[in-house]
């Protein structure tokens, strides 16, 4: 089994022999990798390779799908996320996830951002928390004057930044981004990428992306998944310039999709 490549940072998330099945089909097979704290890690690979499934393992989202079963372990700061005493609701508060589809709730901008903190019983300065989250997601200057605007009236790019802000308002330790720019135009994509870069020292970020160049631009480490298996994982620069596996190379050079 290929081991996580050279980084001396302490891992915040560690998957060991992680496998996921949906009914009879295997989505993820024996994946082991460690996500170092404070870094950006990209998961790339052809569509259907298990990127999203792997990401969803980290926030225990797969178990919401009927017929899904997970084996192996995921440790988060030393705790087994799938342990018997672990509440998945609590896991999702610590490990936030943003989805491919923009999913603003049919509420105001403010209520969208305040949704997570309210659900977890936040009793502090909600106004300040909302402002901070929107600022971190690069949306504050655009919505500051009208936080009561229905979130559905925002542009596609703004909606996705709203979704990022909504997750940031929970102050998670890890931010999981599932194809965060796949539905956006190049300008909105560039915007999101610069936000991700700005967040990176403070948050550990894991991005699933079909866009290998986005991985190259953004991430410190890159994992290449193919048909549910982790084929290669290492420093982004090394993986892109000198891939160890032939299949990684053919994917990166565009010979396979």
């Amino acid at each position: 089994m290929k081991r996580p490549a050279a980084t001396t940072d302490a891992p915040v998330l560690t998957a060991e022999r992680l496998s996921v099945r949906f009914g009879r089909s295997i989505a993820l097979r024996d994946v082991s990798l460690a996500i170092p704290r404070g870094r950006i890690v990209s998961i790339i690979g052809p569509s259907g390779c298990g990127k999203t499934t792997l990401l969803r393992c980290f926030s225990r989202m797969n178990e919401l799908v009927s017929g899904a079963s997970t084996s192996g372990t995921v440790h988060f700061a030393g705790t087994d996320l799938y342990g018997p005493d672990i509440d998945p609701v609590e896991v999702r508060r610590r490990i936030g996830m943003v989805f491919q589809e923009t999913t603003p709730f049919p509420k105001s901008v403010f209520d969208n951002i305040a949704f997570g903190p309210r659900a977890s019983g936040f009793a502090g300065d909600l106004q300040g928390l909302v402002e901070e989250a929107l600022t971190d997601a690069g949306l504050w200057s655009e919505v500051a004057d009208d936080l009561d605007t229905p979130a559905l009236e925002l542009s596609a790019g703004q909606k996705q930044r709203l979704c990022i802000a909504r997750t940031l308002a929970l102050k998670p330790d890890v931010l999981l981004l599932d194809e965060p720019t796949s539905a956006l135009d190049p300008e909105a994509t560039a915007r999101i990428e610069s936000i991700i870069r700005a967040l990176s020292p403070r948050y550990t970020i894991v991005i699933a992306t079909y866009n290998r160049w986005q991985a190259a631009r953004l991430s410190d480490l890159t994992a290449f998944l193919d048909r549910g298996e982790l084929l290669e994982y290492g420093l982004t620069e090394t993986l892109f310039t000198n891939p160890r596996e032939a299949r990684t190379e053919s994917y990166l050079t565009g010979r396979t999709q």
């Binding site: 926030s59 989202m61 919401l64 609701v89 609590e90 999702r92 508060r93 936030g96 996830m97 989805f99 589809e101 923009t102 999913t103 603003p104 709730f105 049919p106 509420k107 949704f115 997570g116 659900a119 977890s120 559905l152 909606k159 979704c163 909504r166 997750t167 929970l170």
Partner: protein, 305 residues
């Protein structure tokens, strides 16, 4: 060998056959349209004759219906109030139960429970309303009379409860459709923000489906307004203006059944009055139904991303 002429004849006869099918289908459509037009024409003509005689204002605002009195009175208001009472009362019973059943089926029920409940819902829809009416009269009312001795033999409460039961499948099925139309990623996003399922249901699922649920209730209320048998059997058929749920009442539809008794001679003002009441009923149910439809299309538009 197949001579060319045969193929040609086949094509011609097939074309003739298709024309015939098209004509038969058109004839069926015409029957429906002509029938609807005839119904409306009769309704408008008779109601028009009536309203030429009795002022629309008096018809809509007077509180007594006494066509045989020396000074005949044709106040439709008690019937409208009775009808509204039944429709709103039925909705009060059917809304919470129907919506909660729909949420259960959508979010919590196992496949087996869903199958079972779908069967029960289908069965409930196929019970004849006269059976519901007898149930109201011989079971619900006696129980109510034990609980509240002041309840009359014919009362609005029993009618409301059982009409509510009758429209329950409509509310459940249409609410379920409204819930189904909420995009799953929206709910996943709520759960991914660390909200417990109950909170996601209450704060995201139900608000996002609220337009569709309201429409479901309106469409079910339109059915309640049109319901005759249960109301006649459970609430009696006496026209009086009352808001008390313990007393009997008369609705527009229950009143209209009296036309069948043949007491009103054709062409008399009393006879025409039935059609005026029918027109009020038609406008009411059509209005509620259209409002429901409008809400459905608006809520779909609002959710579009």
């Amino acid at each position: 060998m197949m001579p060319q002429g045969v193929a040609g004849a086949g094509t011609a006869s097939r074309a003739a056959g298709e024309r015939l099918v098209a004509h038969v289908l058109l004839a069926c459509t015409v029957i429906a349209v002509v029938t609807l037009a005839a119904v409306l024409a009769v309704l408008v003509r008779e109601a028009g004759l009536f309203l030429a005689d009795v002022s629309p204002w008096r018809f809509l605002t007077e509180i007594t219906w006494a066509p045989a009195a020396e000074e005949a009175r044709f106040g439709v208001l008690p019937l409208v109030v009775g009808t509204v009472q039944i429709a709103v009362g039925a909705a009060v019973f059917a809304l919470p139960v129907g919506v909660m059943t729909a949420v259960y089926l959508h979010q919590y029920a196992s496949r087996r429970a869903t199958r079972l409940l779908s069967g029960v819902t289908a069965l409930m829809s196929s019970v004849p309303t006269v059976v519901y009416g007898l149930f109201a009269l011989h079971f619900v009312t006696p129980v109510l009379q034990v609980l509240w001795p002041g309840v009359e033999a014919f009362n609005a409460l029993s009618a409301c409860m059982v009409v509510g039961l009758m429209i329950l499948p409509t509310v459940t099925v249409l609410s379920r459709e409204a819930l189904d139309s909420v995009p799953a990623p929206l709910l996943n996003a709520g759960l991914a923000l660390g909200a417990p399922k109950g909170r996601v249901v209450a704060r995201i699922l139900l608000p996002a489906a609220s337009g569709g649920i309201l429409a479901a209730v309106l469409i079910a209320m339109a059915r309640a307004v049109g319901e005759t048998m249960i109301v006649t059997l459970a609430a009696g058929n006496e026209s009086r203006l009352t808001w008390s749920p313990f007393e009997g009442l008369q609705t527009l539809t229950a009143f209209l059944t009296q036309l069948g008794t043949g007491d009103a001679a054709t062409g008399t003002r009393e006879f025409q009055a039935f059609f005026a009441v029918g027109a009020v009923l038609f406008v009411g149910t059509y209005g509620i139904h259209m409002a429901g439809r409008m809400l459905v299309s608006r809520s779909v538009g609002r959710r579009g991303q």
